[in-house]
């Protein structure tokens, strides 16, 4: 009988240990997935930054009176370079998107740019990069959602508390950014 109690207790302890072990690993993996996904987002941001100077270089001759936009882009770029953690980086990236959108609107006024081959190539590259950014960000949000759900659910929240894990932020649009510049999209 004594043996039986011992064995039962041993099995129970084994189950609890197995649970803590697997939950701990799952949370660590979920946390790491977010970091990993953020790195993917940053890679694509970098790709965008590498393209912007080329684009400016090829259009500034024609668009000489649009110095303000070029200045905004350069400023946002250096702000991004100076940022060290994800939130300010995301902020300055949003700023770049605003400036880039304005540049593209203004470019519509220069039909000679559209026919230039190097501008077309750059646009195709920028287009691909923008799409990559949106894909990787979406996956970043997915990773954050998985993590946030995991740390809130019982009983894994007990272990998440021990690890000091708390809610992570999603990528969100800035206030007022839904009033982005309107433009006529007739000419495809």
């Amino acid at each position: 009988m004594k043996n039986f109690i011992l064995i039962t207790a041993g099995v129970l302890i084994l189950i609890v240990v197995a649970f803590i072990w697997s939950t701990y690993n799952r949370l660590i993996t979920a946390n790491e997935a977010i970091n990993n996904q953020w790195a993917q987002v940053e890679t694509q941001y970098q790709r965008r930054f590498d393209l912007i100077p080329n684009l400016i270089e090829s259009v500034k001759g024609v668009m000489s009176q649009e110095q303000k936009i070029f200045g905004d882009l350069a400023e946002a770029r250096s702000r991004y370079a100076g940022a060290s953690s994800p939130p300010p980086k995301a902020d300055s990236a949003t700023q770049i998107e605003g400036a880039l959108a304005r540049l593209l609107v203004v470019m519509e006024n220069y039909p000679q740019l559209k026919s230039a081959e190097n501008v077309q190539t750059l646009m195709a590259q920028l287009e691909g990069t923008e799409n990559r950014i949106s894909v990787e960000r979406k996956r970043y949000n997915d990773a954050v959602r998985d993590f946030n759900v995991a740390i809130k659910r019982f009983p894994s929240n007990l272990i998440a508390n021990q690890l000091g894990y708390s809610n992570k932020n999603y990528f969100e649009a800035e206030n007022g950014s839904e009033k982005a510049p309107k433009v006529d999209l007739q000419n495809k």
Binding site: L104, V105, E108, E130, A173
Partner: protein, 293 residues
């Protein structure tokens, strides 16, 4: 073209707008081959020759090029649709991500070349853009979909060739080096596991696994002739058997409800057609280019 780019920039600027319409994606079905035409645009013979060409490329380079023609996007953007479909089907080999998807939405007059992570270096966005504008668009405008797609596939093959070295022999080599006894043991274990899963999963009971676990424990105890060892085996194997039975039974039930049985139940392989064994599980990250005609 730049208006499309503008929309993209705007979409990431107003990021939540994009997340919202991400729900419009629908899975058109399971892939039946490299060519999946849901609109009956490409005739039988042309389809076959295209299929043969792409299957040949997959055999020699490992690259998986998928062609999908759908009626419409049901309000989704072609970029989002292509990325989701790419992920759903897993075009390209796992880890190598060497897949390419040519997606055409006929009623929306939109097309996209989506490139897997592994081929982004070989097939750049600018090249995809060139293929769309110089090859596909003119042919599509003449209503010659086969010509546009066939030539686009040729260009993609040309661009991707040389980057991938054939790697069919790797699995065979590994097998030669491995210890045969362990391999036998592994397969025997896997066989018993699948056999038990199929039986226990189908049976409605949840206690049979426990009984089997207990029996196995008694047998181990008898063989070892040692009561304590037998008791431990019984104590561990009964809950393990119960848990196993519970998991597979639930998996079977849920699978049945969804109309898609889990892999371990068996009898699934008959559903696959001819030589096409499905895609390899590759991923894309939004690389490539889109256009309309």
């Amino acid at each position: 073209m730049s208006s499309r780019l503008f929309k993209l920039v705007l979409a990431s600027f107003v990021f939540f707008a994009l997340s919202l319409n991400a729900n419009a994606y629908f899975n058109p079905g399971n892939p039946v081959g490299f060519v999946n035409d849901y609109t009956d645009t490409i005739g039988g013979e042309q389809k076959q020759s295209l299929e043969n060409k792409l299957s040949q490329i997959e055999k020699s380079t490992g690259n998986e090029i998928a062609i999908v023609i759908i009626k419409n996007l049901q309000g989704d953007t072609i970029e989002n649709f292509a990325e989701k479909l790419f992920k759903d089907w897993g075009i390209g080999k796992e880890k190598k991500d060497n897949g390419v998807l040519i997606l055409v939405a006929k009623e929306d007059r939109e097309m996209r070349i989506e490139v897997g992570y592994g081929l982004e270096g070989a097939l750049t966005d600018a090249q995809s853009n060139w293929i769309i504008n110089q090859v596909m668009k003119p042919a599509f405008r003449n209503n010659d979909f086969y010509k546009g797609i066939d030539e686009a596939a040729d260009k993609i093959i040309a661009a991707t060739q040389g980057e991938n070295i054939p790697s069919l022999s790797t699995t065979k080599n590994e097998r030669k080096n491995s210890d045969i006894d362990y391999e036998m043991l592994f397969w025997a274990g896997a066989f018993v596991f699948m056999w038990l899963s199929a039986i226990l999963g189908r049976s409605k009971s949840w206690w049979l696994g426990g009984v089997l676990g207990g029996t196995a424990g008694i047998i181990i105890g008898l063989i070892k002739g040692f009561l304590f060892f037998g008791l431990i085996s019984i104590a561990i194997l009964i809950p393990a058997g119960l848990l196993f039975d519970f998991i597979v039974s639930r998996g079977y039930k849920e699978g049945k409800a969804r109309g898609h049985l889990p892999w371990w139940v068996g009898g699934q392989w008959s559903g696959k057609k001819g030589g096409f064994g499905g895609f390899g599980g590759g991923m894309s990250g939004g690389g490539g280019s889109s256009g309309s005609w």
